[in-house]
């Protein structure tokens, strides 16, 4: 029984805590990163099955990080869900252009997030 790994790149502590608690009740393994650069490094290191990438990040933006991951053979195929701070016109297009597999607009509810994660990465029964 393999645990699926989800990498969550987000600078806001409380948002990380929500996802941590949300996924804590599931069978996913969560890896957290607080900025774009450590997010990319973590992605190379732990080879996640799914990446949740916030757009507004320190050091390297979520879109730039997505481009870097897409350019690398190790993470070329990994699904990446880009989370924007607000549903602005054009954000979805920019995220898709950067290589995002999915897209979630803030404010999202934890229910929505979990549903999207399950859609991309079926949870193995605990």
């Amino acid at each position: 029984m393999t645990q699926r790994t989800v990498l969550y790149v987000e600078d806001n502590e409380y948002n990380r805590k929500i996802v941590r608690q949300l996924l804590g009740r599931t069978n996913y393994r969560l890896v957290e990163a607080v900025d774009g650069e450590t997010g990319v490094a973590a992605a190379f290191e732990c080879a996640p099955d799914l990446i949740l990438m916030d757009v507004q990040l320190p050091k390297m933006s979520g879109l730039d990080a997505t481009k870097v991951l897409r350019a690398d053979p190790r993470t070329k195929e990994t699904p990446i869900i880009v989370i924007t701070s607000f549903a602005m016109s054009g954000d979805r297009e920019r995220a898709t252009a950067a290589g995002a597999s999915g897209y979630l607009a803030k404010p999202y509810s934890p229910r929505e997030l979990l549903a999207l994660v399950r859609q991309f990465l079926p949870e193995d029964a605990a």
């Binding site: 409380y14 608690q21 016109s89 054009g90 509810s109 934890p110």
Partner: protein
């Protein structure tokens, strides 16, 4: 010309003076002409008289000659009839002499007297001859009488000759003086005529140029002013109407210059003000945008934790906490929507809201709204119907924003309707799609209809408390529709219901047709 221009008289006076000078010249010429004609007539008369007098003196000479002939004849023939002839000639002689003497000049008078004396003496001899004839003593005295007679005749002859010569001289003198006077007259007339023409021409020239020059100067000045330069003044020597006009033009130019400076100053002030306002507006929008983001992040966390709590992630929620937890969620969502709408408005006002144009299906758009709103309608027990015309082709626009607009209107309709029906309809109208959202809600009072699209406007504060809402939704909806090139309007009856319409071009960003 400058002098004439500088004369302190009106233009009218100057023109009248010019015409006056010319008129005086013509009158003078006419008077001189009349004078000349009169003078010539007078001289002709004098010449006539002189000619007549020469005639008379010559006749006197002839009469004398015949008298002498007859005297000799009487002496030789002793015929008394001849004496009568002599007397007849003598009468003629005297008559002519008297005529000549009648209007005689003083110089000739002495000569006439001498002739008359000699004639009297001659007539004495004739009387002697006549006596001798009558006394038949002619033969003895003939030689004496003849000698006497010849002497006197010679004397008279000389004197009459002098008289004739004097008359002829007089006539010659008169002719000469007339000729000379005529010459003078001709010269005087010519000089007068030429000077009159020159003077009239000069008057006209000076007066007309004293008018034309200032007009030309004024033209140049006005052309200069017309190009927007006010640095010149028009300087005229005129102290007449043109002078006054020039003074006024200068005042006008100064006033225009002042106004122009004011305008330029005002424009630059306005431009500065505009720039600083624009900076302020941009700063405000940026501040709002940043603040909205900063506000939303913690709010997002609050909503997330609340939802997880309500979902029992942290354990079973006690019954008495479910209601306050729900209140936290409702108010949190309301605050989030408010923040989002404020950000939308700020972006629209900063001109940084752009439409993401794409092809969309009107039926799908309406269906999205229907799906999202159906549960709310069911909760409220309101009938919810949608109707989309079958002839609608693929449309082009920002489907996300249009969905937001339709969602907004539908949300409002459901919010204000407690029973009855809420309907969405979409139909084609030429090159436009017309959306219609109707309800059987509380309606809008007539005096509030024009305010419904203003920011933070709801019918009144009670409505806000009772029904919720941010008061920004309609304002943002209107702005999005206008960005599409469409329009929004509402028909409503208080207590009966409202119907909102909005129309957008079927293909936004493409030319109609």
């Amino acid at each position: 010309m400058r002098w004439v221009a500088g004369v302190p008289a009106s233009l009218h006076t100057k023109l009248m003076a010019g015409f006056g000078v010319v008129t005086v010249l013509f009158v003078a010429m006419a008077a001189f002409g009349v004078h000349t004609v009169l003078n010539t007539t007078q001289q002709a008369k004098l010449l006539d008289e002189a000619h007549q007098r020469v005639g008379w003196s010559q006749e006197i000479e002839q009469a004398l000659a015949r008298q002498m002939q007859f005297s000799v004849l009487a002496l030789l023939s002793g015929d008394e009839a001849t004496i009568a002839r002599i007397l007849r000639e003598n009468n003629r002689f005297n008559e002519l002499l008297a005529r000549l003497d009648a209007d005689e000049a003083a110089e000739q008078h002495g000569l006439v007297e001498q002739v008359r004396a000699s004639q009297d003496e001659a007539m004495g001899v004739v009387a002697d001859i006549a006596n001798a004839i009558r006394d038949r003593t002619l033969g003895s005295v003939t030689s004496d009488l003849l000698a006497h007679q010849e002497r006197i005749d010679a004397e008279i002859g000389v004197r009459v000759g002098k008289l004739v010569a004097a008359e002829q001289r007089r006539m010659a003198t008169l002719r000469d003086s007339i000729a000379s006077a005529n010459r003078d007259l001709l010269v005087a007339t010519s000089v007068l005529a030429v000077s009159a023409v020159v003077l009239a021409w000069l008057c006209g020239f000076v007066i007309s140029w004293s008018v034309i020059l200032p007009v030309r100067q004024a033209q140049g000045f006005l052309d200069h002013v017309a190009t927007g330069s006010f640095d010149r003044r028009v300087e005229l020597p005129n102290r007449d109407e043109f002078g006054a006009l020039a003074e006024r033009m200068n005042r006008m130019s100064e006033e225009l210059h002042r106004l122009d400076r004011m305008k330029v100053d005002a424009a630059s002030e306005l431009a500065q003000l505009n720039a600083s306002l624009e900076r302020a507006s941009r700063a405000k929008s940026e501040f709002l945008s940043n603040m909205s983001h900063e506000l939303r992040t913690p709010l997002n966390a609050i909503l997330g934790f609340t939802e997880m709590m309500a979902d029992g992630l942290y354990g079973e929620v006690p019954e008495e906490l479910k209601d306050p937890l729900n209140d936290i969620q409702v108010n949190g969502r309301h605050l989030l929507r408010l923040i989002n709408e404020v950000l939308d408005l700020a972006k629209i006002e900063a001109g940084r809201m752009e439409l993401a144009l794409d092809d969309y299906s009107v039926a799908e758009l309406v269906n999205t709204v229907r799906t999202a709103m159906r549960s709310l309608a069911e909760e409220k027990g309101v009938r919810f119907v949608t109707e989309v015309a079958g002839d609608l082709p693929m449309a082009r626009g920002d489907s996300g924003r249009l969905t937001q607009c339709l969602m907004n209107l539908t949300g409002n309709a459901l919010k204000f309707t407690r029973a009855g029906e809420v309907g969405i309809a979409a139909a084609r109208n030429g090159d436009e799609v017309v959306f219609r959202v109707s309800d059987t809600g509380i309606g809008i009072p007539a005096e509030e209809i024009e305010n419904v699209f203003a920011e933070f406007r709801q019918v009144d504060a009670t409505v806000t408390r009772q029904f919720g809402g941010t008061g920004l939704g309609l304002s943002i909806t209107k702005k999005f529709i206008e960005m599409h090139g469409g329009s929004i309007w509402v028909e409503s009856r208080l207590g009966v219901g409202s119907t909102f319409f909005f129309s957008v071009p079927l293909r936004v960003g493409e030319s109609a047709g």
